[in-house]
Symmetry: D2
Subunit: 134 residues, 4 copies
């Protein structure tokens, strides 16, 4: 069981979102930040690095946005929809773009295939949490 | 002249936003992340720490969101409005909330007064950039 | 299998450290950053927040240092011991201090008990990687 | 006057380092994180991106380590030399490597020349703070 899940029932938090959904989102955000960080490094190792520039850029943005969203959602205490909603929307949007670009490279690079999975899964998690917050 | 401003004309970037506005926003984001990080530590030093809990929480969120926004905007290369618009909206919203809370404490704590200024200035910068992107 | 482990064999990397050790360290660093971030928020929810100030401070430092170390180690490409050795030493040291402080609160707060485990596990992982790099 | 300097005298902090030195170090760390983040994006815009891979990698590590060091030092409250000393050593080391690499590209790329300055200045600031902490 992830630390996010273990932590969730140890203290009172605002909001009505169920713990399993919240923990799954935090885990997906952290996984995606980690995968995009590693994929960006892997892209830089490719002989065809010039073809990977868009992928590197998107991975950098995706890492930063997922990490910040994981930190904010992971503290579970600010339940202000004016902050969390657009943050999750930005996160879903960059996961979508980054996932699309990684998927284009997936047939040639296993690291992009794995990263695309992490992006897809994180995009779904952000959208599910957005729906639950509505 | 800030590093953000010096950097801006050394390489081609997407978009039509003028360099001065972009540099001012990056500087305001970095300043706000720095001020909120220090204010959160200062709040923790107060004998009345129990009264500062909301302020600490908002400063933590504001630091994380401003830092990520500064990183993304500071690379100046992703010009995807589906990402940058909600990110700037989330940033303006947390700066507004954090600035309001810091202002409540400003009469008693100089660090909150200074942090409120940084939050107000960052909120204005995010809104100005949002308008320019429109 | 974690994304760190999946990524590791998809691209060439410098160094001679075996993949399992590296992946375990990256996972422990990310887990600890996540646990300390959540524990800090949980501490702020306690009625006895004044007693938790040291724990909050250490959790904040531990989150930032673990996250940066995870990012650097997770890219797996800089193998400069003048950078990675002191970074891992700083990380092991903050995990030790933060783990000690969390353990003091473990009898009263489940979130501190869980966070102490994450800190201990991360400290061990950093020390093991330091030894393997020697 | 920077926010770091303004904040420093508004609350009690541990240690004996004078405020001007501490504020200068925090500013140099934030400047360097910002410059390396922008330089990395600028490198990715160069037609000769394949020649810039080492520079991009070092800029990424330098951004992450400077940002974490700025956060920890900027809270000014953990005065544990077992943490702050190796953290500053790691930071000085990556600034040295990144500054050397940026300098190699400085004749061709203005963004690398500016980034090299930020790295040199940050390395000096970290070494000065290390000496003051001794």
């Amino acid at each position: 069981m992830s630390y996010a899940r273990q932590m969730l029932d140890t203290y009172p938090r605002g909001g009505t979102v169920e713990s399993d959904l919240l923990a799954a989102t935090i885990d997906a955000l952290n996984d995606c930040a980690q995968a995009c960080n590693a994929d960006n490094a892997a892209d830089l190792s490719e002989p065809s690095v010039a073809d990977m520039v868009t992928c590197i850029r998107l991975c950098l943005d995706c890492t930063d946005i997922c990490a910040a969203t994981a930190a904010v959602i992971g503290r579970l205490t600010s339940d202000d929809p004016r902050v969390t909603r657009p943050l999750l929307e930005a996160c879903a949007a960059i996961c979508r773009s980054c996932g699309d670009e990684c998927e284009r490279h997936a047939p040639h690079h296993a690291h992009c295939r794995i990263c695309a999975e992490a992006c897809r899964s994180c995009e779904r998690a952000c959208l599910a949490l957005l729906e639950a917050l509505a």
